[in-house]
């Protein structure tokens, strides 16, 4: 049985929808579909945008016809992918919590009825799946935030949140890859540049990978900052079975 639906989005895009609920299974299905399509190097595909439950494919209709592309996609979508093939990659992102780095940590703690240290412990105790990137270059939509520390957004968004800020907005947590306005409650900051236009690749992570936050102190923050500035800091990546 088909677990997907192919829809038309204008004259140069196809949208494949895999369901209507956010789940790790659907996300893995999308990640492996993207890999299969990339591996086939289909001429005429211009770009792809994987999202929570869908995959948008931009194509050039002068190079490949809709019918031909659809046929090739159907074939790929019917291939079996073995779960064992997907290796779980976890990026360890060091974060200095609280104080000037995370001015809203006290709000989050107060809202949760926990101590600041308990909030940090909860935040650093699981691997967050990167469902998709979007909104800003390198901005990750992460799944898996512990319900105990869900916190509503600020009533008045900040005009400028510095790059590297780690925060919570409702049920989500994430990192601001660049200076940006925003309404999330800021709990800390990472010295790692998750987006650096001068670096290749400019973005560290991709959809389907995981992020684990690791608590560091101010001295460590300074040390990593200096290394990151010189482009000498390597993020620790753990690899293993899911």
């Amino acid at each position: 049985m088909k677990d997907y639906q192919i829809l038309i989005e204008g004259d140069s895009s196809i949208l494949i929808v895999f369901g209507d609920t956010i789940s790790t299974e659907i996300n893995q299905r999308i990640t492996s579909t993207v890999q299969l399509i990339r591996a086939q190097r289909i001429e005429g595909i211009v770009d792809m945008i994987p999202a929570f439950v869908s995959l948008l494919i931009n194509y050039n209709p002068l190079v490949i016809s809709y019918d031909a592309l659809r046929k090739r996609l159907e074939k790929i979508l019917q291939m079996e992918t073995k779960a064992s093939e997907t290796v779980k990659r976890v990026f360890e992102i060091p974060v200095c919590y609280g104080g000037e780095y995370g001015p809203d940590l006290k709000n989050i703690a107060a809202h949760a009825g926990l101590s600041e240290q308990e909030v940090v412990k909860i935040h650093t105790s699981c691997d967050y799946l990167i469902y998709m990137l979007g909104f800003l270059p390198g901005f990750c939509y992460l799944g898996g935030l512990d319900e105990r520390i869900h916190t509503p957004r600020l009533e008045t968004p900040r005009l400028k949140i510095p790059a590297g800020s780690v925060g919570i907005g409702g049920k989500q947590t994430g990192i601001y890859p660049m200076d940006s306005p925003g309404g999330w409650q800021l709990m800390g900051k990472t010295p790692v540049k998750t987006y650096d236009p001068q670096r290749d690749p400019a973005i560290l992570v991709q959809a389907g990978e995981y992020i684990r936050f690791v608590e560091i102190d101010e001295a460590e923050f300074q040390r990593i900052s200096e290394l990151a500035e010189k482009n000498e800091y390597q993020v620790t990546i753990r690899e293993g079975g899911a």
Partner: protein, 342 residues
């Protein structure tokens, strides 16, 4: 070699056909809003298809050339003047070192494009020279042009084949009927039957909230069945979102890569250049066509551009007329400076 910016205008940026392949990381595609005018500008100065040009918005800049070069200006009419004299749009124009090119504000359209035969000295960033204002990358230092900026050219090219043939008729933006064609979907199923009727049979007004990211429209409210919120998905160029307030938004070159509002329809590729030349207050309507029809129109557009390319590579009357040629040669020889024409 190149030009200096004396006055920047409202929003003057370097653009090409955009930065593809990085949307999955959150990078917008960007690139010229009006791809048709962009293509014609490059064609007129014999440039490769994806060469970077200036995109000029609503109020034009003032530029001083620091070397001789050949330019072409297409798109909206911003009354360009070279040393105070009006110059032809949709035509290759030879400009000299020290010449001052001054644009006014948009008389017709909203965006104009200026191509240079010497290829702008702009570094490639992730496969493109286009400016991404949000990511602050590409183009000139990742930002819009400001007074005092200088952009050079990568090559010297002061001779173009069939120079006198390099002109085309400008479009008549005032005669546009305002009917923009769309392919319905992918989330028109979330919109009520009444909402679809409203969308296809009402007049919408282009508002002032119209930038490189998108164009907000004003007009009758398009009602969803229940909600128009969706689980965020990728957004194609020309997608028409209907947020809960019911006023449609058409997404353009600098659109965010993903969004959470239902997309009722998608503007067809060939009608995007028409939309982006609309001024605040102008009216538009939507007409549904099939995806196959949209692709046929796209192919037709490519053929039309090919026809233009042939036209400007054909000797024109001035070239074939002996007296005209003699006159031109006489003029060239009379001016010792004109050695550089050859």
């Amino acid at each position: 070699m190149g030009f200096r910016v004396l006055k920047a205008g409202m929003l003057t940026t370097v653009q090409d056909l955009g930065r593809n392949g990085y949307q999955s990381q959150g990078f917008s595609v960007g690139g010229a809003l009006d791809v048709r005018s962009f293509n014609i500008a490059n064609m007129l100065v014999d440039n490769p298809e994806n060469e970077a040009v200036l995109e000029i918005t609503l109020i034009g800049p003032e530029l001083e050339f620091t070397a001789d070069t050949i330019i072409a200006i297409t798109g909206g009419d911003f009354s360009p003047r070279l040393n105070g004299e009006p110059i032809a749009m949709y035509s290759a124009v030879y400009v000299r070192k020290g010449d001052i090119l001054k644009f006014g504000s948009a008389r017709t359209g909203t965006r104009c494009y200026m191509a240079f035969s010497g290829y702008l000295q702009i570094p490639m960033v992730m496969g493109s020279r286009c400016t991404s204002l949000k990511s602050k990358i590409g183009g000139f230092k990742g930002r819009k042009l400001e007074a005092g900026d200088y952009i050079g050219e990568r090559i010297k090219r002061r001779y173009l084949p069939f120079f006198l043939s390099r002109k085309l008729p400008p479009p008549d933006y005032n005669n546009d009927n305002g009917v923009l064609r769309v392919v319905m979907g992918p989330q028109d199923g979330l919109i009520s039957k009444q909402g679809i009727e409203t969308f296809l049979h009402s007049e919408y007004t282009v508002t002032g909230e119209f930038d490189r990211m998108g164009c907000r429209l004003d007009g009758p409210i398009i009602a969803p069945k229940k909600t128009s919120d969706i689980i965020s998905d990728g957004i194609a160029l020309g997608a028409i979102q209907v947020p809960s307030a019911g006023k449609p938004i058409i997404l353009l070159a600098d659109r965010q890569t993903t969004g959470g509002y239902a997309k009722i329809a998608n503007l067809i590729s060939v009608d995007i250049p028409r939309l982006v030349q609309k001024k605040t207050g102008q009216k538009i309507r939507f007409e549904a066509v099939t995806m196959q029809e949209a692709q046929r129109l796209y192919l037709q557009e490519v053929k039309e551009l090919e026809r233009m390319r042939k036209e400007i590579h054909t000797p024109c009357k001035e070239v074939l007329d002996c007296r005209q040629v003699a006159k031109r040669l006489e003029r060239l020889y009379a001016d010792a400076e004109t050695q550089r024409f050859f």
